[in-house]
């Protein structure tokens, strides 16, 4: 019995001028799992997830979503399919408010004629929602929900991006280092959030340099190295220290049979 992967990428290549960022890499995400992606800086992690969601158009290779080949030309395509992404560079509009950013492209309208005819935004509802989500993430130092995002602290900004993705995803979520700028408390909330989301059946791709976090929440660990998928391991059957060794090239990856290319039968 083989389960169909949610995302399947094969032989993906992405070059920038003469820089090769992804070099015939493969990728699989299966239903209901948290797939961690780890690798050195510049290994190509961000590039590969961007290829999956259409933020970058790969030069070669094939990507299937739920078995169907896709050729996203913009992240809008992905988003329409219920895919949400927390970008490493956050992708927030600096001059806009927290609520504006959170609801960009899916704003709530006022009830009744004010919404349907006059297209008036329901600012109150959006702001309440935004505040609630930020509070859930423990970001209680945000003093005004109308602050422009550029006036937020680094961690507060990241919180906005994470909250946005988590609130709206239907098919799966990609999180590129979602806790990099977060404090201890706020990071903990994000890990809880990831587990929440998974428990709703929505799979997650988590890129992180934080090994304890990875080993705490991941079902499988995709190790990326020099633009390629180097190995996929079961975090329960490998030590953090070996994972780091494989990732940095200090150790060869185990043979494919000992890897975890597909999840264990649920």
């Amino acid at each position: 019995m083989t389960i169909q992967p949610i995302v399947q990428g094969r032989g993906i290549v992405k070059r920038y001028g003469h820089v090769t960022a992804i070099d015939h890499a493969d990728f699989d995400l299966y239903p209901g799992e948290v797939l961690a992606v780890i690798g050195d800086n510049g290994a190509g992690k961000s590039s590969i997830v961007k290829s999956i969601c259409g933020a970058v158009i790969p030069d070669e290779g094939e990507i299937k979503i739920e078995g169907k080949p896709v050729h996203f030309t913009s992240p809008l395509d992905a988003r329409e399919q219920g895919i949400e992404i927390v970008y490493q560079q956050l992708a927030l509009s600096p001059a806009l408010s927290i609520a504006d950013n959170m609801f960009a492209g899916r704003e709530l309208l006022k009830p009744g004629i004010r919404g349907s005819l006059f297209r008036q935004l329901d600012k109150k509802r959006m702001e309440d929602f935004a505040r609630e989500k930020l509070t859930e993430l423990g970001l209680m130092t945000v003093q005004s929900i109308n602050q422009a995002v550029e006036t937020l602290s680094g961690g507060q900004r990241q919180g906005v991006a994470v909250a946005r993705a988590a609130a709206f995803a239907k098919k799966f979520i990609i999180m590129d280092e979602p806790t990099a700028a977060l404090g201890v408390k706020e990071s903990r909330r994000v890990l809880e959030l990831i587990q929440d989301v998974r428990s709703k059946g929505i799979p997650i791709i988590l890129i992180s340099h934080n090994m304890p976090h990875v080993f705490e929440v991941a079902d499988r660990v995709h190790i990326h190295r020099l633009g390629k998928r180097h190995a996929v391991m079961d975090p329960k059957s490998i030590s953090m220290s070996d994972a780091v060794a494989i990732m940095t090239g200090a150790m060869e990856p185990p043979p494919v049979e000992q890897q975890q290319l597909t999840p264990k039968a649920a």
């Binding site: 970008y87 992708a91 001059a95 899916r106 008036q120 080993f215 329960k236």
Partner: protein, 356 residues
């Protein structure tokens, strides 16, 4: 979960006890902080302050000659065309674009309205519709080139400026349609020239249209999704795209709206000068950009309030009339307006800084 993992997190044990109360910083009271807050929340107040200051200054210098309903509504009449075009320009500049073709689109639209009526005998309302559609179409071409072909707005609209102007001359053969003929045969073309007289104050429909247009745009930009998207696109197009905004659609509709508004300006122009003249509006682009920038909208997009552009246009209008009334001759007026534009923005900057 693996043992390593839980070890890595043991210093987090206290987190469950962390306070859940929201941050409470000291709150500031008093007039100055309140003014500062207001200016912060409503950036268009800053050029408004400058406008009021300049009206007061000229009022003091010139007395009732300037500070009369007549003179003040005259300023409204004089800025109406630039004001309407500045509204269009504001939209485009908010998306980090620029529209050099505004004046050309305005004139071509008014020529279409006039020629359709007088050359082909089409009823005025239909000709007006045709003129409005013509403006929108020109805007669409601009927007399409900017959004889809990804050309710099400066180049696209510079090219369109030349193309539209040349088309206008080729099409109209530069023939003027006289005010008297329009009045006799198609007064609707002069609709915006109608006047509401209250005492010595004279409000033309065109001036009223300008004011209403700004109120409408302020509503749209602040209260609708499209409006927020305009800001997002201008702020950081890539981020907007990544966060799910259909940036191309926004850009195209913005340029279309700009074209449509310019066509309305063309209609208002007929009301203002009475006739249909293909030679008007040559400075509309630089004048509208000036109003927008004085009004505090950033040429880099995404920042500023559309109301500011109205105040910007009025500031220039106040200076121009005020200086003439003070008796400065044309060349000196020209020079002093240069000085005053810089000073107006310097004062604006200073208020902003004091309120930061």
């Amino acid at each position: 979960m693996s043992e390593t993992a839980s070890k890595g997190q043991d210093y987090e044990s206290s987190l469950s006890k962390a306070t859940a109360s929201v941050a409470a910083f000291e709150k500031r009271k008093g007039l100055v902080p309140q003014i500062q807050s207001a200016l912060h929340a409503t950036p268009a107040l800053v050029p408004l302050v400058v406008l009021v200051l300049s009206i007061v200054t000229f009022g003091v210098l010139l007395g009732s000659k300037f500070f009369s309903p007549f003179a003040l509504t005259l300023i409204l009449q004089q800025v109406q065309i630039v004001g309407i075009v500045a509204a269009a320009q504001s939209l485009v500049i908010l998306t980090a674009g620029i529209d050099l073709s505004v004046g050309a689109i305005m004139v071509l639209s008014s020529v279409v309205m006039g020629q359709f009526t007088f050359r082909y005998g089409i009823p005025a309302p239909i000709s007006i519709m045709a003129g409005l559609m013509c403006g929108t179409l020109m805007g669409f071409i601009n927007g399409w080139l900017v959004a889809k072909i990804k050309l710099p707005p400066f180049i696209v609209t510079l090219g369109m400026w030349q193309i539209v102007l040349a088309t206008n001359f080729l099409y109209s053969a530069n023939e003027t349609i006289r005010s008297q003929d329009i009045e006799a045969e198609a007064p609707m073309l002069q609709f915006f020239g109608n006047v509401i007289q209250v005492g010595s104050a004279r409000l033309t429909f065109g001036a009223l249209f300008m004011l209403l247009l700004f109120v409408l745009l302020a509503y749209i930009l602040n209260q609708t999704a499209w409006g927020r998207h305009v800001y997002a696109v201008g702020d950081d197009k890539e981020a907007a795209e990544l966060s799910g905004i259909k940036t191309n659609k926004v850009i195209i509709t913005v340029y279309m709206a700009s074209g449509l508004i310019c066509a309305f300006a063309g209609w208002a122009l007929i009301g203002r000068i009475g006739s249909v003249s293909p030679t008007s509006g040559q400075l509309a682009n630089i004048e509208s950009i000036t109003a927008v920038v004085i009004g505090g909208i950033s040429l880099f997009g995404g920042r500023g309030a559309v109301m500011g552009s109205l105040f910007g246009a009025l500031i220039v209008g106040v200076f121009t009339l005020g200086l003439r009334l003070l008796g400065a001759d044309a060349q000196w007026t020209y020079l002093l307006i240069g000085v005053l534009i810089i000073s107006a923005v310097a004062v604006d900057q200073w208020i902003r800084k004091a309120s930061a």
